[in-house]
Each structure stands twice: as structure tokens, then as C-alpha cells.
Amino acid sequence: MSMGLGDSVWLALALIIPAVTLLAILLLGRRPNLREAATLSGAILLFITVAQLLVDVLAGARPELHLASVAPGLTLALRIDPLGMLFGVVAATLWVANSVYSIGYMRGNDEPRQTMFYACFAIAIFSTMGLAFAGNLFTLFVFYEILSLSTYPLVTHKQNPAAMKAGRVYLITLIGASMILLLPAIIWTGLVAGTLDFKAGGILDGKLGPVALSILLAMFVFGAAKAAVMPLHRWLPAAMVAPTPVSALLHAVAVVKAGVFTILKVVVSIFGIETLSKTGSADWLVYVAGFTIIAASVVALRADDLKRRLAYSTIGQLSYIVMAAALVSPLAVLGAALHIAAHAISKITLFFAAGSIYTAEHVTKVSQMNGIGRRMPWTMAAFAIGALSMIGLPPTAGFLGKWFMLGAASSAANWFAVGVIVVSTVLNAAYFLPILTAAYLKPANGPVKEAPLAMVVALSATALGTVMLFFFPEVPFRLASAILGG
């Protein structure tokens, strides 16, 4: 692979821009308008940088950058492959939307400690970029941990007892799992394979027996607790106490995606799907993920709190991706990668809408949403699009991923997986459609009252993106198809 200087510079910029943004936010802490300008310009510059990288990667380049040799065998190095690029593009794009939305939300609700909030956001996007573009497991782990730590102050932003408790659950689950399972898994991998570098086709072929591979995979899957595979899912609903932009960051831009991205990346570039399908070491994961999908959907069905319902919906959707990864076929990987993008943009729309409803009406319960569709037409239209995408109906992005995953499951004759996808689609419809019918068909009790403009702009944009992605899926599709090539 050729590695032009230009590529490395752009790659370095993907980390430098959030870092500089962070500094600017801290320095401008007392001048809110300039501070928000820093956040916005950082987001836009990062988007341009990542777009430039995307063009290069689509043209076949694989930018690399050596950051530091930490110790013998441990290097901090970046290397963009198509999967990382896909995640990077999704995160950088949604960060722009989320920045616009955050500004509206934080000002609309007059939240305290905004400087810390924006600063932590900048660190989070910094670590997400590093994680997406990580060239080896060690680098991925470093940024994974920075992401956990930088989002902790965001989860506890309200600083009331409930928030502090949720923060503890959040930190202990994520850090604990990553220390106890992910880190040993990485060290084990390094000892067995002699390297930690990601490589298309994996680095473990013939190095471990089927049982050992299963154990190692389990350590990765549960170690990356950000993916919220049951039973390590509790932190996600707990973290719903945070302000809505944080939930959007958690669910769409960075955190949970970092989890499933890690799992997918490990399956593709550490184990190798051929190794896994040959040994059948990932078969068990289909059942665990399938159980998570169904169980989470059932819980979502019974949740009255809107954000809680969305949280359990996320847990289910994430396990789609994990289940697809566990099916270890090219088609399944394609579906999983597409679903990362699709779920991100749809779920951010849903959270934006939820936050917008909260800001305008202070409504948090599903049962209070009667007639709200007429009072907040833009918000609820966006919500409807997001919900349809979650169910997987065309013409929304959610359809794409599900379609390929269903194809992969049936061509592998894995009827359990097929059944899970079908049943969960029905359940998804069962918990989203009543919200829509209540919002649109029940009578409204007040005048039209939309949320602040910045929020409406952001959520309309992501809703539009959800539909556009269905009609123009070329970029994610090309990236997703190139994943197995490395």
C-alpha cells in the first residue's frame, strides 16, 4: 500500500483538530459564544478532514501514522481500513449534527457547567477518532479507555445522586469489563500471535484450538462492554439520566458504536472470519446476541419512559450487529457494517427528537405524548422516520443492514438467527408504532410549539440523512464491501 505524506498529515489532523478544539474550549470557557464557535468550527474542520481521508480510502489508499513506541511490542499507531473509515465518517458527520444540537439544548435548558460539557465532548470525539483509525489492538484499547473516562463526566453531568449512581455503574461496568476481560484478551492475543496489528483475514489462524478461540472471543465480546451484550447492558439504561445530547453521543456517535466496532474489528482483523467459520468458535455468540435482541425488545415494549425505551431499543439493535459478526460470512459483515451507519443516524434522530420534546414540553413519558405530533410537527416527523428505520422499513437506512443480515442468516441456513430477526422486527414495530399513533391520532392539547431552532435543524438534518442513506448508500456500501479486503 502506498502511503503518501498527504495522507498521514490528514490522519494526524483527525486527532489534532479535536485536541485543539479542546484547548480552545477550555481557554474560552468564560465567553460562551466564542466557546461554541470553537466547538462548531472544530466539528466542521474535522468533518472536512475525514471527508478528505474518505476520498483517499475509497481510492484505495490506507493512510498510516506511527504515533509512539510505548514499549517493546506496544506501539501507538494509526492505520485506516474501510471498517475504521466507515465508523470514522459516521462519528465525524454526526458530531457536526450533535454539536449544533448540543448548543441548542444546553442553552435551551440553561444547563450548568457547559465548559466542562463541551470539553469532555471534544475529548470523546478525539478518542473516537483514535479508536476508529487504530492500527493495532493496543492503540484501540488506549482510546477505548479514554473514551470511557471522558464520557463519565458527561453521564454525571447533572451531579444529583441519581446521576452520580448512574455514573458509578457506567464507569465500573465499562472500565471493569475492559480491565478484567479486554486487556487480558489483548495480552493473550499478543502472546499467541506475536503481534497486535490488525490484519485482514486475522492473525490467529491455526494458533489456537476451537475452545480457546471461543473463550478468547467471549473475552473480547464481554470485555467490550460498550456493545451492551447481555448481561453487561445495565449501564446503558442507567446512563439515561444524562442530558439528551450525551445520550445521542453515547448511542449514536461514539460509545456503543465503539463497542460493536471493536467486536466487528476483532472478528474481521484479529480472528478472521474464515478461521472462525472453520472452527465454529463463534456459533455460541449467535445465541447470546439473539437472546439479547429479543429480551431487550421485550423490556422496551414495557418501558414508559421514552429514553428508557430508546435505550433498550439500542441494546437490541447493537446485538444485531454482534449477531451478524457471529455469523462470520462476508454478507453478514457487510450487513453489520451498514447497520453501524444506519443505526447511528437513525438513533441520533430519535434521541434528538426525544430531547427536543423534553426541551419544549418537558415530556419524558410515552404516555404523555398524546397529540404531540401536531404540536411539534418537525420533531415528530423526524421521530417517525427514525422509528421506521429502527423497525427496518424502507425507505429508511435501517432497511439496508437488516436486509443483508437476513440474507446472511438464511444463506447460512441459521434459522435461529432468521427467527430472531423476524420476531424482533415485529417487537420493534410493537413498541414504536403506538408512540406514532398516539402522537398523531390522539387529540392535541395546545398550540404549535417547536423546540429551539438549532435543535430542529439538527434533527431534521439527521432525519433527512436517514432517508438519503437508503437512496444513496454507495459510500457506506463501498466501504463495507471492502472490509474483508482490509
Partner: protein
């Protein structure tokens, strides 16, 4: 002169510093003298380490007497590293100490404080540099006696009790050590560690050796606060003046660990033990117990100094665990952690000292939101805390990585799991501190405070910065620690 007399200069400089500091009696002058002596000693130590890396071993005969009769000072890759570490911490502590001491100790006693600090430094450096078993005892007592005085200079009256209790335990430990040395002397007829090793094969009965090992290991274990012989440490660290705590926490236990390593690898060998129980197995069990039990105790402390003190007991457990693994990676991890833990605990105790300097308290529940008013101090404490957890990007991760690697190499995968599992307890106690200092509204006491003075901040920021630096680029410390491990493993044929 350094090239020829380095090994003795490194000890003599602080010794004279102590003398002059005691004679001048004026606080500022005593401080300046001590600082100059410490800097001189640091320069010599660095020169020695450079020399050792080029030549292997630097041997120095006091008064020109041959080792059989006289005392030999002997610097190799192992204690060269320790000398640099201890002197560097001493310099940083002294820079930090001036303001802190002014606020915590009455003026008439300040010169004594510096004299004692220099004596303690002398003792620690002497323990590290000498190759004579009895000379170690003398330096051990020099450092211990001055430590008791340092602790007793604390503001709280409980400092006196803490000093007394440490005096009792420390003296028992030192006496145990000297009993063990006596047995070795009876068996081999020499006190030079190198000669003792040479003559060990000629000893008819291994009993004397086993008895000597038991006494020496227990004696040193008391000094390094190996669980369960750690009871003296939390009170001593909590009630000593802040600057003394910084220095002791970063150096005293480290030198004792060095001594332990010297004896179990250089003299007895890791497989020697009582009956079928090898010393290594005992150490592994005690280290693991320290890592879990002391960390758990730290979670429930309200006094930050005590919290960090319990954490020190736990962290010493990681170090002794690395030694007990007795392979290249494990010992490298142990020596890396000696360095890294000194850096981060130094930074942490400096931060606590700065908080005491401004707020007058180190009770956690009275420090809500102090991060808002003292952001740099709180940031240093945070970085140190992350290092204690072993978060990647901090030096604590690197040492734990080597320890885990060592555990895997030794075939103890369960030890590897316990190492990482114990880090989660560190998340709890560090998280508690972070929650209070950052994520609560400042209370009445903390609201009007300013940041600590620059000369207290500077050494703190240096240590915190090194914690990050050695977490991102560990080539230098890893190669130094690796060389030390190599020497130790090759010490016995």
C-alpha cells in the same frame, strides 16, 4: 572526581547537607543547603548510572580496604536506577517543601526538618549503594531514625503515636535483619554480599541459611510494609508533614524492595524456602492479598492521605508480585512499578499537600468541588489516580502490562487475571476521590481558595507529566528496568 569517587559522594553529599542544615539553624538557609546537596547527589547518581550502563559495575572500596576487611560500595544496573530515582524525588520534594513546611512546622524546627530529611536521604542512598550486609543495617537505622523524627514533626498529636509505633516496628524489623546477617556471617565469615554468595556452596547445613533468610526477609518486609506487616504505614503517612509523606511514600518502601530483591535473587535464590514452600510462593500469596485487601481498605478511607497510604500498601504488592514471578518480564514490571509508583504517588501526595496548604484539611467530605478552585492540583491528583488504576496512557499501565506478561510467562494465568481484577478496586477508590473533587459543587470551605503557589505546583506537574510521558514512551524506563532484571536474574549461577 565523580568518575572515581561517585559511589561514596552520592551518600556523603546529603550527609554533609544534613550536618550543615542542622548547624545553620535558619530555615531558608537550611533549605538552600539541603537543596544544593540533593542536587549534587542527583548529578552524581545520574553520572553513576551512565557509567554503569557503559561499564557494567562500578565498585568502590572505602578507604582502599579490600572487601574481605573493608566495606565495598558497588553500583550496578539495579541500584544505579534506585539511586537516580531516590535523589530525583529528593530534589523535587525539596523544591516543593519550602512553602509546605513553612505552613506546617513551627519556624524553630524547620532546620531540623531539613536535617532529618537529608539524613533520611543519606540512609536510603547508603542502603542502596553499599555491598556490605552490616553497612546496610547501619544505613537502614539512619534512615529509620530520621523517619521517626520526620513523622513526629507532624501537626497532629497522633503523629507522635504514629512515630512511636513505627519506631517499635521498625526497630524490630531492623533487629530481625541484623540477626539474619549475623547468621550469614557465622556461616560464611564475611559480610560482603558478593563474597557471601561465593561461599554459600561451602556451607555444610542449609539450616543456617534458611534461618537467615527468614529473619532477613521478615525484617525487610516490615520496612517495605509487605502485607500483613503494613500496619505502621497508614498512620505514619497520614500524620507526617506533607513534604515528608511525599518523600517517604516515593522512596522509603522502594529502597526496601530493592534490598529484598537483592537478597532473594542475589543471596538466597527464589527457590530457597522453608520445607517445600519456596519464598516466591509466599511472596505471591502475600502480594495478592495486599493488592486486594489494602485496596479494599483504601476504598473506605475518608482522609485522602490515609487512602493513598493504603493504596501504597497495595501498590507495593504489585512490586513484590513482580519480583516473585522471577522472570525477565515480571522483574522488569516490578522495577518499572518502583519508578512509576514513586512518580505517581509523589504527585498524588504533593497534590494532597497543596490542598492542605490551601484548605487546611485532607478529609474527603470537606473537599467537595475543590477541582474548580485548584484545577492544576486536582488535575495532577487525577493523573496520579489514573496511573494507580493503570489506565493506558499512564505509566501505571506499562508496569502492569509487564507484570501481566510476566505472569503469563510464568504460567500463572490466574495471577494475570487477578492483577487486572485488582485494578478495578483502584477504580473504586480513585473514582471516589474524583467524584468529590470534580463533580460536586464547591462547599463553603473550598469556594474562595486559590491555586497552590507555583513552586509547589512545579514539581507536582513534573511528576504528573512524567507519569504521562512514561505511559506514552516507556523505552527509557523499560530498558533501565529490563537491565536491572537481567542483572538480578544472572546474579546467582
Amino acid at each position: 572526581m565523580i568518575a572515581v569517587h561517585g559511589p561514596v559522594l552520592v551518600v556523603i553529599l546529603p550527609l554533609f547537607g544534613a550536618l550543615v542544615a542542622a548547624l545553620v539553624r535558619r530555615p531558608l538557609l537550611a533549605w538552600a543547603v539541603s537543596l544544593i546537596a540533593a542536587i549534587g547527589s542527583f548529578v552524581v547518581a545520574v553520572a553513576l548510572l551512565v557509567q554503569v550502563r557503559a561499564e557494567g559495575v562500578v565498585s568502590y572500596r572505602i578507604g582502599g580496604w579490600a572487601p574481605e576487611i573493608g566495606i565495598e560500595y558497588r553500583v550496578d544496573a539495579v541500584n544505579g536506577l534506585i539511586l537516580v530515582l531516590v535523589t530525583a524525588i529528593a530534589v523535587l520534594t525539596l523544591v516543593y517543601a519550602r512553602r509546605s513546611v513553612l505552613s506546617e512546622i513551627i519556624p524553630e524546627r524547620i532546620a531540623w526538618f531539613y536535617a532529618m530529611l537529608m539524613l533520611c536521604l543519606t540512609g536510603l542512598l547508603g542502603m542502596a549503594v553499599t555491598g556490605d550486609a552490616f553497612n546496610v543495617f547501619v544505613f537502614l537505622e539512619i534512615s529509620s531514625l530520621s523517619t521517626y523524627v520526620l513523622i513526629a514533626l507532624g501537626r497532629d498529636r497522633r503523629a507522635l503515636v504514629a512515630a512511636y509505633q513505627y519506631l517499635i516496628v521498625g526497630t524490630i524489623g531492623a533487629t530481625f535483619y541484623v540477626i539474619g546477617v549475623g547468621l550469614l556471617y557465622l556461616a560464611t565469615g564475611t559480610l560482603n554480599l558478593g563474597l557471601i554468595v561465593e561461599r554459600l556452596p561451602e556451607i555444610a547445613s542449609p539450616r543456617a541459611l534458611i534461618a537467615a533468610e527468614a529473619f532477613i526477609v521478615v525484617g525487610i518486609a516490615l520496612k517495605l510494609a509487605l502485607f500483613p506487616l503494613h500496619a505502621w504505614l497508614p498512620n505514619a503517612y497520614a500524620y507526617a508533614p506533607s513534604s515528608a509523606t511525599v518523600f517517604l511514600a516515593s522512596t522509603a518502601t522502594k529502597v526496601a524492595v530493592y534490598l529484598l530483591a537483592r537478597y532473594i535473587f542475589g543471596v538466597f535464590g527464589v527457590h530457597l524456602g522453608i520445607g517445600s514452600v519456596a519464598i516466591a510462593s509466599v511472596l505471591i500469596v502475600l502480594s495478592l492479598a495486599a493488592m486486594f485487601i489494602a485496596s479494599a481498605a483504601a476504598v473506605f478511607q475518608n482522609d485522602i492521605k490515609r487512602l493513598l497510604a493504603f493504596s501504597s500498601v497495595a501498590q507495593v504488592g504489585y512490586i513484590t508480585l513482580g519480583l516473585a514471578l522471577a522472570n525477565q518480564s515480571g522483574i522488569t514490571g516490578a522495577f518499572l512499578h518502583i519508578v512509576n509508583h514513586a512518580l505517581m504517588k509523589g504527585a498524588a501526595f504533593m497534590a494532597v499537600g497543596a490542598i492542605i496548604y490551601r484548605s487546611g484539611t485532607c478529609k474527603l467530605d470537606e473537599l467537595s468541588g475543590i477541582g474548580r478552585t485548584m484545577p492544576v492540583t486536582a488535575a495532577a491528583l487525577t493523573i496520579a489516580g489514573l496511573g494507580l488504576i493503570g489506565v493506558p496512557g499512564t505509566s501505571g499501565f506499562i508496569s502492569k502490562y509487564y507484570l501481566v506478561l510476566g505472569a503469563f510467562e510464568a504460567g500463572f494465568w490466574w495471577v494475570a487475571l487477578l492483577i487486572v481484577a485488582s485494578s478495578v478496586i483502584a477504580v473504586l477508590y480513585v473514582g471516589r476521590m474524583m467524584e468529590v473533587i470534580w463533580f460536586r459543587e464547591p462547599n463553603q470551605r473550598c469556594r474562595g481558595l486559590g491555586e497552590a503557589p507555583a513552586e509547589m505546583l512545579a514539581p507536582m506537574v513534573v511528576l504528573a507529566g512524567m507519569t504521562i510521558w512514561f505511559g506514552l514512551d516507556a523505552e527509557l524506563p523499560a530498558s533501565l528496568a529490563g537491565a536491572a532484571a537481567h542483572v538480578l536474574l544472572g546474579a546467582r549461577p
